[in-house]
């Protein structure tokens, strides 16, 4: 390519992985463009994640996934409290209900050691029931994974995107890549709805569509088969029932159905695992919900006495390979980051670090930016931290933080205003929900739905 490209690096896909890569590269003296087909960042596969902060104890030893999850755990654990991403260290209990499942324990402990996880410990039935008294009777024992935790799947990509944009990244939402071509002499030309964009390097973080983009560039490394996971979220009044992430002993097909608290103070039950044909088939199903309810009843019968707050389904970008599909094609300056499954939330920063190192080896000049990194902090939407409505300081400075608009989730007028005017502002109800928790509670809009619709319209008009 003779002339200098419009952008040094174009990243396609602003899920948690694309946002993490954009954040990582924005720390260097580069121009970075982040393209997202959807209306918002983190609004596809990323938002329907089970939201666990994995230690990677159960990854396949020796894989890239094993290494990046372990590294990502460390990086995100350090980053999250610094920028206000909610994290809760609940620990996990992997429960055996049958002798066959208990017989898997030695192999699970062995694999964990190989993955470098040293925090696993066997727990007998008595201790298990002492720690999870609402479990159904009949559990034989468990493995405790003390460092497993919860992380907010909404704030994480938003924080990455916010830092990237503050560092100069050009974030373009509602901008699908229609086609891509390699340019003579190097670089890429992307066709976008508003015209073309040339880029020196291209990062494919297109998630469910990453195989399609890969093929546009003449590669054929993998095929994404969307694997649907349905989840049921129970009312906050159920939260005292569950103290840890209650995991199932995995089978070859699935990690099984888990029951876990959420950082928002609810209880989550799921996921299912079902290969589907369409990459937009995020519909829940009667069979899936019935299966989850029966599993929930088997593991923790009291849970079913509580109201269901939300039901949703997400698609994991599963491939025919067991591992992440990360490849960097040095001569052309193309990095493909595909096949990132649910562990990608935890691994995101390590994936970004890995991609940045690999791009450096392709000759991309990586000069750290001079000057201080951007100062920012995400509004806390986690139950364990201080929310706006709980802060005398915030309310004292601005009464809007004392004006609760969403009663179920206690999202305030001030937070809603902030979300609509943020560095990466909410543009729709779902975006508002992921930034403030408004409308995600038990009434699902009975009280605040009309008010939020009016505020969104007003923000759009201004």
């Amino acid at each position: 390519m003779r002339e200098s490209p419009d952008t040094d690096v174009a990243i396609v896909g602003a899920g948690v992985v694309g946002c993490a890569i954009a954040r990582e590269l924005s720390r260097f003296d580069l121009s970075v463009t982040l393209l997202e087909a959807g209306a918002d960042v983190g609004a596809g596969t990323s938002k329907a994640n089970t939201a666990l902060l994995h230690t990677g104890f159960d990854a396949k030893p020796g894989t890239l996934e094993s290494r990046l999850v372990a590294r990502g755990y460390e990086l995100l654990s350090e980053y999250a409290p610094r920028v206000g991403i909610p994290v809760e260290r609940t620990g996990a209990l992997l429960v055996a209900w049958t002798e066959e499942q208990a017989a898997e324990f030695p192999a699970i402990l062995e694999a964990a050691r190989a993955n470098g996880s040293v925090d696993l410990r066997r727990v007998d039935a008595e201790e298990l029931y002492g720690r999870e008294p609402h479990l159904a009777p009949g559990a034989l024992g468990a493995i405790e994974v003390a460092r497993e935790g919860l992380v907010c799947p909404f704030t994480t990509p938003l924080a990455y995107a916010t830092e990237a944009v503050l560092s100069g990244c050009d974030l373009r939402r509602s901008t699908p890549v229609e086609s891509v071509a390699r340019l003579e002499g190097g670089g890429f030309r992307l066709t976008l709805p508003g015209g073309a964009l040339t880029a020196g390097r291209l990062v494919n973080a297109a998630g469910l569509r990453s195989d399609e983009l890969d093929r546009m560039l003449g590669h054929d490394g993998f095929t994404v088969t969307p694997r649907r996971g349905e989840l049921i979220v129970f009312d906050k009044l159920a939260r005292p029932l569950v103290r840890h992430i209650v995991l199932a002993v995995p089978t070859k097909i699935t990690k099984g159905v888990l029951i876990a608290p959420t950082v928002f103070g609810n209880v989550m039950l799921g996921p299912t695992a079902e290969d589907v044909e369409r990459k937009d088939d995020t519909a829940s199903t009667r069979a899936g919900l019935d299966y989850l309810m029966s599993e929930g009843g088997r593991i923790m019968p009291e849970l079913l006495e509580h109201e269901v707050t939300a039901v949703y389904a997400g698609l994991r970008a599963a491939t025919e390979h067991a591992d992440y599909q990360v490849s960097v094609h040095a001569p052309e300056g193309y990095a493909c980051v595909g096949g990132i499954r649910s562990t990608g939330l935890t691994a995101s920063m390590a994936i970004a670090e890995h991609v940045r190192e690999q791009l450096g080896e392709t000759g991309l000049r990586l000069e750290p930016k001079t000057g201080a990194p951007p100062e920012f902090r995400m509004p806390n939407i986690g139950e364990a931290g201080i929310r706006a409505h709980q802060s005398d300081d915030l309310i004292g400075r601005d009464a809007e933080y004392g004006r609760i608009v969403c009663f179920c989730e206690r999202a305030t007028s001030g937070e809603i205003r902030d979300a609509l005017t943020a560095t990466v502002p909410a543009v729709d109800l779902d975006g508002l929900r992921r930034r403030t928790r408004a409308h995600m509670g038990r009434c699902q809009g009975f009280f605040c739905g009309a008010e939020l619709a009016e505020r969104l319209d007003a923000a759009e008009a201004s």
């Binding site: 009667r286 919900l289 109201e307 939300a310 005398d392 309310i395 009309a450 008010e451």
Partner: protein
């Protein structure tokens, strides 16, 4: 003498008026919305206030009237103020634009009302498009915000409120393509059903379940199933309104450590509307969702009478006999007898059934001893039947639970 009323809807405001009439010095109503009045604020139809104010009002007029009565009576109404914390034995923790504070009143009247179960709580599968709402949201969109409701709407449910949704849709410029209920008939008055059929020509699909919702970004189609044949069919629409299926807004009651009734899912209360926690009373649709606003208001007035006596020093009964019911009865309210029981609000218990019955025979027993045996007029799911309360005088206050059952379904 300070009594705090939680919730400024009909029950809470009526309680405040009555407490002031009984010369309670400080009465504070805490309302989380920006205006007092509760649900009637956005229920535009007529017919409010017959039983309590003896004059028909529209919903908004009724809400305004009650707010005015409470203010004139000298109650302090704090809007945009939400109770965000309350532990068993602890003070009320409040949040509002003025900041956070705690209150330790001499008595509390809970009147937090109820809401409709949303689609998710009913586990209706499918995609998650825009255009799926409850009647509450629909009424606020149309009447408080002046917005359109969509073009073609399906109404789920066939109770009073479902017909209110129908009227609201008409006002909001939408056409109701149908009304689906899993039951074998509607649960409202024949007059409403007849009027609706005449005016909007909306078909009523009985024994019909909503089995899936499809569309993106907005609703495009709803899948309906005939519960008798299992046959499914698709109905095109852009809006789905889930009506009724009421659940009390009971979060505060649970936080405050009150014993809950498994049927109503509100706090368990005796005939004087005392909860299990001393000094805490409950009233209105938190106890029996949903009654007409004037019935809720009378319940608030009833709770206020006992609360007023309590803050003046009357004793708190320590023994509580539960009142339980058997299927097809779903719940009874009040559901506890305490001390020497006084008559409940309006002199009757409210009974709910999951099945229709005409002239069913009801028996009330305690440890096998017959307290009452007789017929009531009818049972309609989602609507309260009134059960006379004369038998409470015969209850053994030291005895076991009182049982209410249907012995013949008419």
């Amino acid at each position: 003498m300070t009594v705090v009323v939680l919730g400024g809807g009909p029950a809470g405001l009526a309680a405040a008026v009555e407490l002031r009439r009984l010369a309670t010095r400080d009465v504070i109503v805490l309302e989380r919305e920006s205006e007092p009045g509760g649900i009637p604020r956005h229920a535009r139809h007529q017919g409010f206030g017959i039983r309590d104010l003896h004059r028909p009002h529209s919903g908004p007029a009724y809400a305004r009237r009650y707010a005015q009565l409470a203010a004139e009576a000298g109650a302090e109404i704090r809007t945009e103020t939400m109770v965000t914390g309350w532990s068993p034995g602890g003070p009320l923790e409040l949040t509002g634009p003025g900041g956070r504070e705690t209150l330790e009143p001499d008595a509390v009247v809970l009147a937090t009302g109820c809401r409709e179960r949303p689609r998710s709580a009913r586990l209706v599968p499918g995609s998650r498009p825009e255009g799926v709402m409850t009647t509450g949201t629909l009424q606020q969109l149309v009447y408080l915000k002046g917005r359109r409701a969509g073009e073609r709407a399906l109404i789920v449910g066939a109770e009073h409120v479902s017909f209110s949704a129908l009227a609201t849709l008409g006002h909001g410029g939408a056409r109701a393509v149908g009304m689906a209920t899993e039951l074998r008939g509607h649960q409202t008055l024949e007059l409403f059903r007849f009027g609706a059929a005449l005016r909007w020509r909306t078909p009523l699909w009985t024994r019909t379940a909503v089995t899936a919702i499809h569309g993106r970004p907005r609703v495009e189609e709803v899948e309906l199933m005939d519960l008798d044949t299992g046959a499914t069919r698709a109905v095109e629409c852009d809006t789905v309104v889930f009506t009724a299926d009421w659940i009390p807004d009971h979060e505060l009651a649970v936080m405050g450590g009150l014993d809950m009734d498994p049927g109503t899912r509100g706090p368990a209360v005796d005939t004087a509307l005392r909860t299990s926690r001393e000094g805490v009373f409950a009233a209105g649709n938190l106890l029996q969702g949903a009654e007409p606003a004037d019935v809720a208001a009378l319940s608030g007035r009833h709770a206020a009478a006992t609360a007023g006596e309590y803050v003046r020093g009357s004793a708190w009964p320590d023994r509580r006999v539960p009142v339980e019911c058997e299927p097809p009865l779903h719940w009874i309210s009040p559901n506890v007898l305490a001390g020497r029981p006084t008559p409940p609000s309006r002199g009757t218990f409210a009974l709910r059934s999951t099945e229709f019955a005409s002239g069913p025979r009801i028996q009330v027993t305690q440890e096998g001893r017959m307290l009452w045996d007789g017929r009531i007029r009818r049972l309609v799911p989602g609507r309260s039947a009134r059960l006379a309360a004369g038998w409470v005088a015969a209850v053994d206050a030291a005895g076991g639970p009182v049982r209410v059952r249907v012995v013949r379904r008419g």
